[in-house]
Symmetry: D4
Subunit: 223 residues, 8 copies
């Protein structure tokens, strides 16, 4: 635990690939385009793995790509990535309750894809029409992990968590209005779920869910 690369405006943790199998992921908000490009450039030079920038809009991504070519921008996921990891033997299912959860699911899927997980997305299986869930239930149960992306009351997480036996990572989203409280309602519901052994990440954090899946995938590889 020792590597640091100091760019003045950022202090990169260059030993993270060794500790966690992945370099630092860059969070774009609050950073200048030049800073993002500089960090990406350094990360690409320091190690051979994928380099990712999250929550970046199309204009900033285009500017960064001019300075650091060779990357790819996924506008729905707001992800900029270079040098995706080779495909791993790990099947991640990402399932959403409704259409409005799409951008968060897209971030989860895009990040997971860039770091080598095999991702399948099942959209719009909210529990208000339970047979939509039942139609994909066995497919979800066969995955190596499931990411459940749901806003409003987040009930899909409990239904998935109660059905499948694999690790379930719930992502509350800020969709809905009024009593949905910008995702807090879904978050509290997922943490209080009657489905035992489910875990939760932060509101709208598709990124966090993908990295939690990555930790599980790594574990399978090292054993």
């Amino acid at each position: 635990m020792s590597g640091i690369s100091d760019l003045g405006y950022a202090r990169l943790d260059t030993s993270r690939p060794r500790r966690q199998g992945l370099p630092e992921v860059v969070y774009a908000p609050g950073k200048q385009v030049g800073e993002i490009a500089g960090i990406a450039d350094r990360l690409l030079a320091e190690h051979p793995g994928p380099v990712l920038v999250t929550r970046i809009d199309a204009d900033a991504a285009a500017e960064v790509l001019e300075q650091v070519p060779g990357g790819h921008h996924d506008p729905q996921a707001r992800l900029l990535s270079w040098r995706p990891a080779p495909t791993r033997d790990f099947r991640l299912a990402v399932v959403t309750a409704g259409t409005a959860d799409g951008p968060v699911a897209a971030e989860a899927a895009a990040v997971a894809g860039a770091i080598g997980l095999q991702v399948r997305v099942e959209r719009d299986v909210g529990v208000a029409g339970l047979h939509r869930f039942l139609a994909v239930a066995d497919e979800l149960a066969a995955a190596d992990a499931v990411v459940v992306v749901a806003g409003m009351e987040g009930a899909l997480a409990s239904v998935v968590g109660g059905y499948v036996g694999c690790p379930v990572i719930a992502v509350p989203t800020s969709t809905g209005y009024g009593a949905a409280l910008e995702g807090v309602t879904a978050l509290l519901g997922m943490l209080s779920s009657c489905a035992a052994g489910m875990t939760v990440v932060g509101i709208d954090s598709g990124f966090g869910a993908a990295l939690a899946a990555h930790r599980i995938a790594l574990l399978g590889e090292r054993r």
Copy 2:
């Protein structure tokens, strides 16, 4: 809208049976045994229908019954009642997510029974084992109304509300700990539910759910 019966310690609304088909229901906490007995006595004299006291414990109920005989105390429901209404043509299903929701469901069922609804209780059909719900789903769909009693994340309400077409009244309960926030999590979840047209009453208010069902039953009778 005019009847009042003033007992000094209480000002009874004696025109409520005419307006709403039911006399005032007495909420026991904060009232003296003598006051409860006095109110019950007066209500029994003022009109011919059922008289109910909610949230009353066994000791107080026994004392009241000595002064106003002929009633019945249901300890789990904490309900004291006299002169139950004749059975109406209205089938109410009360369904709970787990065992801990029992007392709230008991209050809903006992109040509903005392005011003449036909009640059937289905216990412990939480969504963590979805087939438990599926086993009773068609029975619930055949009811005239369903009361869903659930704590923790309250997901059962969304599943029921999305399945059945009849009126659904959700009762959040204060079961669970930590992020369940004494019922607030279930309450917010039920209000944000993806299942359209479901309605919600206050936390732990089995009483409120029974009276909401009563309003619907009355409607059917007067039409």
Copy 3:
């Protein structure tokens, strides 16, 4: 419980009319115009009833109507609808506390109308001038159900709920400022109301209230 129509971007629950007497209602925010048109088109093909899109602004509605003609856009209610249901024998009263509650009441009224309920709206009967309520009280009591739309402290709901005997559905609105907390104050007040048997839907959810009334109306028809 089996019908699904998969459009790729949406997974329609086509058995909902059979279960609940009404197809899925489309929530516009977060969906592309082309997606909304595609869903509406499919729903119109799948069953003979009304098709509704909520929370859609005028520009998007016009674009959708070019692709799926024959519908109607109500700008205050932000509702786009095709093929309204035949009028049912059910009188719904929608009552508001103040002018600012208008858009939510308009959504409730327009959705209820499109699904066949007979709707009458009484505006601006806030309890600060109680005689305004008294002037319409008996009319409200004669309705088959009342939707109360109120922001700020939401006291109108308690007054209506205490007066009428029919089902009362309270809709808290996000009108008001400061301590009104974007509708949370009205929501909590309605849930804590001293008027027994009232039910509540989510903040600003005129749509939810209309569908709750629809469930009650259906019940009357099937009995």
Copy 4:
């Protein structure tokens, strides 16, 4: 603004009668019986007006009265008082929504009485039976000020505030359960009321309401 009487365990503000027409009122919780007696003794010596101790239970009150005789303990109001003020020309109406609001109303009434206001209490006029309010409305409107004591959703405050023209002081109480949130719901509702010009004091603060009325009464006397 200068008088201080230092008892070691308390630093009395002896110029308060000159500034506000009333000595410090002693809040009992957290104080020793001996301290309360010592403070009362000193206040009785320092000025000729009434001396009050709030929130004191019967046992502590009896002990204090042994050391400082001549006072009176009102158990429902939890008030200990010596030397009540002469009756002033100011009629205060205290009105409660329900029986459970009784102790807070009792505190308001007892404090107001001890400082010379003429107090009339109207109990149990909750808006669920609006005619109970209408029966006393003109009497309330004729008072010099009205204190409204209400828990749950606190709607009575809006109804009173909209009817009468005199100063209205609303006291939210912690009665109710669940979504009543220990009085926070009533508090928020009263602050967001549609009835203009109403003011609010802290949860359960019958004492605060009485002193607010006292300020208004003083104003009338000095003009």
Copy 5:
């Protein structure tokens, strides 16, 4: 309690002047310019007193004034008023903690002025420099009522409330950032104040404070 004037879009309470000495005050947000003009026009016709529209911006005010001439718009207070009341024998002091509280104080002062109170504003006497308060303390104490306008922690209210003997109406403002929580911190602080007998109105409600003062002024006149 009987007068109603129904404009279709609004149901005016025309008996309010008789009950409360002042017609309804119009809250502009959410109303069309034509509606505001229509209401103002009707109110001017119905009774001889002042007519007020609050929270109205300059453009809307100008449009309304074209339709209903003779009024005056105060841009800082966002108040539009016609026919100010004659000056009453009541001196209201409005005091602010800081410059940012200015607009709320301006609303309080302008409304109070339009309804006939004599208003004096003391700005920027925050307790961080206590001698600024001490310099005006005796002037405040000589007023008939004091409105304290303060954001952040709202401590000025406690200092004023502890010093003066006249009625004190505290208005929390949404100034400040972070832990000031949009005025909730000041609101809670004012409600919990150690200064007894102070009352509180809603966040940023200069209007509410002015009307509370009006009630007190009326009381003095009728006695």
Copy 6:
């Protein structure tokens, strides 16, 4: 997904071992001793795996063991268990920030042990003395998963999550007072952690963390 065993007071999901490799775990609060014994008895009969009862105190455990002998009660963990699973090839590290987090860690460790995980507990490595963490850091990094149990501000979770590469499950605890808000502060902190890919379970839910680890362990076994 079909097995149900109906005991009247409980509806057991007997297909859970097939779906999730473990029978239902019994949550004791709110259940009668006889009910707990009945459920345990049935679960022991239905399948060959471990049977667990959580949150049960010593007296109730002793009574249950009289009726269903052969089990073991761990008082600190409040866990009653029969027939522990054979040891699996999965090393779980449980680490606590302070002594007060002990009972939650004990529950996590005891549940994990009963279902076959190899558990090692490292106590009292709070970040206020960072070298305590550094002394065990490499041991934690070598585990197959780490459960971090921390109250107050929960900072240990971020430090562990940033160091190790394996799955990290954070358990906020309700230790601490004041601004710790009964575990909500730690919960929010863990969800907002700068350490990517960490997941969180409910407040004080050592049980939830153990079952989340179980899901990961199962995954390794089936691959």
Copy 7:
């Protein structure tokens, strides 16, 4: 940064005196008497400075003192201490708003005294009688640091912070009821204070304030 003393039930940070001039302070709640005694014994052996146990009641303190003699228990402060530090050249003023803040102030004063600060306590100088503050203002201004202990709205902190130029550490207390929200109101108020450069510690944390003062005192000594 290296010393650890592992007692099994606790992992002592023995390098803390070198880093921070003071050994770990033991927080009693949740620890066995034997554990407290064991930790105290070890800390006394490891270094020559003062050893402190906070939040310990009289019975537990007596038992610990039997095993580890020579210490002193202060019941109001709930502090058990051995070997107080020699008096330092640092004058700390502890000031309280009211009597109920006494126990928190006592903890601050007793801890500060045990670690060598010169402490003077000024009680009951709440701003409701501002001259009480003015009487001690210059004395406070002459201290090396001031700890302000206040509950309810916590306004005293702003008044002190605006007057004195030395470091001010504000301690919100959980005194008060209703809107005081168990100290959260005072906490938020102190953090939002208009008095610049004041700092805040946790609710009821007299201990935290004393240690913050200790850090300042150490700084003066090492310079």
Copy 8:
């Protein structure tokens, strides 16, 4: 405590330099450019020390500088300052957890610099890569005070507070999203920190932290 300079729109506390060693700092939001210039002009005339305007954007700053030349605007810190104080013998370390905390740290550093403290900023040492902290730990420990600027969960504050012995001032920032709750999560975490003797200022208040450091620096000078 007596100096006041009344500008009409502001009431300057001109004795503050004598009490606290620094004139009032001007908070720009809500003030007109002309008012800011007028206040700055007066402050520059009244005393010889530094004059500061915080939270001012580039355009307003340029306008003010035209009227009151000789100052300097730091755009990242949003600080406008004239006549910086001579350098004092006090080394302040400002440390941030991440890049997004930059503006708050910049404000702290710029204000501290303008009032004479020697400031060193260490950026981006978040605990997710703990060795980044360890690399600067001894440098921080050698400072006279440390300001820790951190958002999200704010864990860096606990790590710094547990390591160094000098005064630590924690500044929560509103960086992060979802469960970070606009800085409230970091704020609560810092107040609940396991690192004893740390103090906290308001969310995003780099200014407050700098002034807290100034109080400590003054103390060292006067001793």
